[in-house]
């Protein structure tokens, strides 16, 4: 059963991710008073990228992107296959390190800056993701995504702080303003394109697919907080995504020190308070 879910993820996540990207762009356009591109635009872009010439600065950069794609897909598949959530997070980090290495490989100023910023974002996001997983374990007594998803406990009630912290860094992971520091979908003129500067054609297409996988994985992570009721979970995911788009369109980009400090502060305050509360409640229940 778990393998079927994993395979379904591998097959369907790019489709769903592309659709979400298309809808995202449409909603963004409407928020700005524009008509916006077709819903399938993300797929047209992808198709276009694979029709382009293969241009590289150094051959090795493509290898790192391939690893990025493979490990993002693997971590998502592990997640939807119901695997150990900590292992999923570690594979996810590994994937991002490969993206950063790809950006470093080209020895280009713009992608170098992007790589450094991507690392800072990685450093900003990592703690709360781990703490969220730990919080889930403390409530459900299992690290397995399958068990957490099957649990009848409304996790969001027990983990509001961790959820808020996760939402905070979700903006970074979805590459939305104000935390689209390393690369972004808008603000194209700024920093050229950060980590993706030196990637073009099919390689850029691979990054795009990996990003779709990533988006679905992250929304899956949101789902876990609401998994006791799938209907509420889906509604919550929709609300949260629209909220992210709203934030994206109403905030200017911040500098990296603020991004790092604020996300660590949110993690430290909300995360630790939440875990401490859980610990005390756990003590009473015993």
């Amino acid at each position: 059963m778990s393998i079927i879910y994993a395979l379904l993820f591998l097959l369907l996540a790019p489709v769903a991710g592309g659709l979400i990207a298309g809808i995202d762009r449409r909603i963004t356009a409407r928020m700005q008073g524009r008509v916006g591109p077709p819903i399938l635009q993300a797929f047209y872009d992808l198709g276009k990228l694979f029709e382009k010439e293969k241009v590289v600065v150094t051959n090795s950069q493509n290898f790192y992107v391939l690893c990025y794609l493979v490990f993002i897909a693997l971590s998502g598949a592990l997640f939807f296959g119901g695997g150990d959530i900590l292992l999923v997070i570690f594979a996810f980090t590994l994937a991002h390190v490969f993206l950063v290495l790809g950006a470093y490989a080209s020895n280009s100023p713009y992608s170098h800056v992007g790589a450094e910023r991507e690392l800072i974002q990685l450093m900003a996001c990592e703690p709360i993701i781990i703490l969220a997983a730990v919080g889930m374990y403390m409530v459900t007594k299992s690290f397995y995504v399958a068990d957490i998803a099957a649990s009848n406990i409304p996790l969001i009630v027990f983990l509001p702080g961790l959820f808020a912290g996760f939402l905070y860094i979700l903006t970074m992971k979805l590459r939305k303003s104000p935390f689209d520091l390393s690369t972004s979908h808008h603000a194209h003129q700024e920093l050229v394109k950060g980590v993706t500067t030196e990637f073009s054609g099919p390689t850029l297409g691979c990054i795009e697919i990996a990003h779709w996988y990533e988006a679905i994985f992250l929304l899956g992570f949101v789902y876990l907080f609401f998994s006791w009721s799938p209907v509420i979970a889906v509604i919550a995911i929709i609300i949260i995504y629209v909220f992210e788009i709203l934030i994206d369109n109403t905030f200017a980009r911040v500098k990296w020190p603020l991004a790092l400090k604020s996300s660590w502060l949110v993690t430290a305050v909300l995360g630790i308070l939440n875990l401490a509360a859980l610990y005390i409640i756990g003590g009473f229940l015993k």
């Binding site: 591109p37 198709g47 010439e53 500067t197 054609g201």
Partner: protein
């Protein structure tokens, strides 16, 4: 029919334009014209671009930059010269410090005249270039070199 024409990404370069045409290009991105309807995105990076949109004429300062950007765009690619300066040098044509239109250095596929070019004509020119992009793609798949040899004689003359 390929995806190229559904997702043209632009690289906009201001060679030595007076900003008149540039402001009109930006007008195309506004809600009024909203070129993203056609999947057009303004990228800041030649490596991601398909269409090279140039305003202004070339001179000693920017000629290397223009060629550098052109060479960094992956094939298939088209060049659209926006405004009369990019096409021929315009009113600056005879200036001692102006080399003329951008076609002296790189092959231009579509000329959009005007001073400044109107947003409608810019969009028209870019849509026209999509057909050429498709042709170049077909040629590329068949293995025919898509890049006409650059006019090296003119380049050398320009550098004198």
């Amino acid at each position: 029919m390929t995806y190229l024409s559904k997702s043209p990404w632009l690289l906009h370069y201001n060679a030595s334009s007076c900003n008149g045409c540039d402001i009109e290009i930006l007008a195309c991105l506004t809600p009024m014209y909203d070129v993203e309807r056609f999947g057009i995105i303004n990228t800041g990076n030649p490596k991601h671009a398909d269409i090279f949109v140039v305003t202004g004429s070339i001179n000693e300062e920017n000629k290397d930059v223009l060629v550098n950007l052109y060479e960094q765009i992956p094939d298939p690619k088209v060049v659209v010269a926006i405004g009369i300066c990019a096409a021929s040098g315009g009113v600056f044509r005879e200036c001692y410090n102006v080399m003329g239109g951008i076609d002296k250095l790189i092959p231009v596929d579509v000329y959009v005249p005007g001073c400044a070019a109107r947003p409608e004509s810019i969009i028209d020119g870019i849509v026209k270039s999509l057909g050429i992009l498709e042709e170049k793609r077909t040629a590329m798949v068949k293995g025919i070199p898509v890049k006409p040899e650059m006019n090296t004689a003119v380049r050398e003359a320009g550098t004198e």
